[in-house]
């Protein structure tokens, strides 16, 4: 493990920002620290950087406990949410700052800055001030500035939060590519699940100062271990009691039922459906165009579920009676989440 946190606790007054947080990160990985606002993810990042001090617990980088190493000596690159570019310095001077502090020679600085400016694709803009750059360009400069002194660890605090949607998409790809190319171990904080899934090699999910789950994006998404993780991803419909839906096993102490849109198959009465016998009847209450498909709200057994249909399928209208088949559901009991499959999927089907 390159970066390791062991039993980290941190309070701000009565507020518990970190509750016994432990995790390890392998060298060269790009990690997404994901959680809702107030879940303590930024605090973790700031403690690793040395901007905050944990109440107790150890932070280990490259085999050494660095709790008492001042922030400036940790050799960490940090990209702030607001970028924190030096507004009275040009792009060149911003990127050169860390190198000047290290007392590098002028020619060395010139070469390194030129290399980084090229890397971030801002050739020719070296003499601009931050205020003369677009949001995306500023983000790139902040990235280059953090990378200039060759840090072994790069920390990014909500790196895409301040950028508009279109550019954000581009920058995500760009950042993932850049980090893969440079091979620098990186941790980025985000509250956006799509962003974490898309960019990270591994996701650490935080909730209320604790770590709920760590894993590859696909694993975390498809097999959530806790109630919180199960409800955090996707676009879940959440309701209490699933006993009205036949063909699911009972779980002791079940509290919540979580159904994601991709778990639901909606078919018109006239369409062929493999599991027609075990489908429930529902009424369409809303049809919305979502760019990539049609999103439906369907009322089944007194519960409103969200489902999707493609453009190539026959259209459904509000008020229409439809067949609703649920492949699987998540059921939570206490802090745990269970995945239940529809029993019909396991039974031999006879199509007449």
């Amino acid at each position: 493990m390159y970066v390791e946190l062991k039993n980290i606790n941190k309070h701000f007054g009565n507020f518990k920002a970190s509750d016994n947080v432990s995790f390890g990160i392998e060298k060269g990985k790009l990690i997404g620290l994901l959680g809702p606002s107030g879940s303590g993810k930024t605090t973790i990042l700031r403690m690793i950087a040395g901007l905050e001090t944990p109440d107790n617990g150890d932070i280990i980088i490259d085999g050494k406990v660095i709790n008492n190493v001042p922030a400036s000596k940790r050799g960490i690159g940090f990209v702030f949410q607001s970028y924190a570019l030096f507004r009275y310095m040009t792009v060149f001077e911003n990127i050169a700052f860390g190198l000047r502090v290290l007392k590098k020679s002028d020619s060395e600085i010139k070469d390194r800055v030129a290399e980084l400016v090229k890397l971030i694709g801002l050739d020719g803009l070296e003499n601009r001030y931050p205020s003369q750059l677009s949001g995306g360009q500023r983000q790139r400069v902040a990235f280059a500035r953090a990378l200039a002194p060759n840090p072994q660890l790069l920390l990014l605090d909500e790196p895409f939060a301040a950028i508009d949607a279109k550019v954000r998409q581009e920058l995500r790809h760009w950042l993932k590519e850049m980090i893969a190319k440079l091979g620098v171990t990186s941790i980025f904080v985000t509250h956006d699940q799509d962003e974490a899934i898309e960019v990270a090699d591994e996701i650490i999910i935080m909730n209320k100062g604790r770590i709920d789950q760590i894993g590859k994006p696909l694993d975390v998404y498809s097999t959530p271990k806790t109630a919180f993780v199960a409800s955090f991803f996707g676009q879940p419909s959440i309701f209490k009691d699933y006993s009205k839906f036949r063909r699911f096993d009972a779980v002791e102490g079940a509290e919540q039922t979580i159904v994601r849109p991709e778990f639901v198959k909606v078919t018109k009465k006239t369409e062929v459906q493999k599991f027609k016998n075990s489908a429930e009847e529902g009424v369409v209450t809303d049809v919305a165009f979502r760019g990539s498909g049609i999103e439906l709200s369907v009322l089944v057994n007194g519960v409103t579920l969200t489902a999707r249909r493609g453009f190539d399928e026959p259209s459904v209208s509000v008020g229409e009676k439809v067949d609703v088949f649920i492949y699987r559901i998540f059921v939570t009991a206490g802090d745990n989440a269970y995945l239940l499959e529809n029993k019909s999927l396991r039974e031999p089907v006879v199509v007449i």
């Binding site: 922030a71 400036s72 502090v101 001030y129 002194p149």
Partner: protein, 277 residues
């Protein structure tokens, strides 16, 4: 653009008229009076009054007190503004309020405070005498009084500027290993430069013209503890009108000089801000 109607035009010219009338009556007229009175008996008399030994001494004392007040209040203003905006501590609110005290109390009270603290009735007076330190009716008292009344000018200019902006840039610089002084010089100071210079100008202007507090504590010893404003008063009380106005004209010139400096600083600050907000 806003289109002017007949009535809005009338309002516009009325308001401009009021302002101009006020400036002429309250500022321009007295200014012209000072200059014309000063030169009433010809340039030779003016020159004699201005180059008079006591006047020259008062001039240098005024500059000395001003320079010291500016230097000391710069140090104080920077530390106060820095500590009040960058740290959280107990009694921060009280400190913020106390800094404003010198502009809210009458300067006479300020003078009296120093008279009572360092004068004959004071418990520390014997101590001062043992060390052979003279404060009341001496130059140190004048400097102290001047510092007191100009106390908040620099910090008051800096606090809003520092408050308006977080610590991100400083944190970023610190993470890259920059030391405190480097951070101040390269990150913080460029940001507060214009506000700071403006504060210095205000502080200097106020220090030069200070009358009340200094008057109480100086003892009006001609050639020793007389500043320019006090000198003007003494001359005036002795019915030496022309010399009084001549000396006053020096203060007017200093004030005009400071106004020009202020405008230049503001102009430069604005020009610069267009490129780097």
């Amino acid at each position: 653009m806003y289109k002017e109607t007949k009535s809005s035009k009338a309002v516009k010219w009325f308001l401009i008229g009021v302002s101009v009338l006020f400036v002429v009556l309250m500022l321009l007229l007295p200014l012209i009076t000072v200059i014309t009175e000063a030169f009433k008996q010809g340039f030779a008399v003016y020159e004699k009054a201005v180059t008079d030994n006591y006047t020259v001494k008062a001039f240098w004392l005024t500059l000395e007190a001003t320079a010291l007040a500016v230097v000391i209040n710069t140090v104080f203003g920077l530390s106060a503004a820095w500590s009040l905006t960058k740290f959280h501590f107990r009694g921060k609110k009280i400190l913020t309020t106390l800094i404003d005290l010198p502009v809210t109390v009458s300067p006479i009270i300020a003078g009296l405070i120093f008279l009572l603290t360092f004068g004959r009735q004071s418990p520390i007076f014997p101590l001062l005498q043992d060390w052979d330190v003279k404060i009341v009716f001496a130059v140190p008292g004048i400097v102290l009084a001047t510092i007191f009344v100009t106390f908040p000018f620099i910090s008051r200019e800096l606090i809003p500027v520092l408050e308006a902006r977080g610590n991100d840039e400083e944190e970023a610089a610190a993470l890259m290993g920059a030391k405190g002084f480097t951070i101040f010089r390269k990150i913080t100071f460029p940001h507060i430069k214009w506000a700071f210079l403006y504060g210095v100008v205000l502080c200097a202007a106020r220090a030069m013209g200070e009358f009340g507090a200094v008057s109480v504590i100086s003892g009006h010893l001609r050639g020793k503890t007389n500043t320019l404003p006090l000198h003007v008063e003494i001359l005036f009380n002795e019915f030496q009108y022309v010399p009084a106005f001549a000396v006053a004209s020096i203060l007017v010139l200093l004030a005009i000089f400071i106004l020009i400096a202020r405008s230049l600083i503001e102009y430069n600050g604005k020009k610069k801000n267009k490129v780097e907000p």
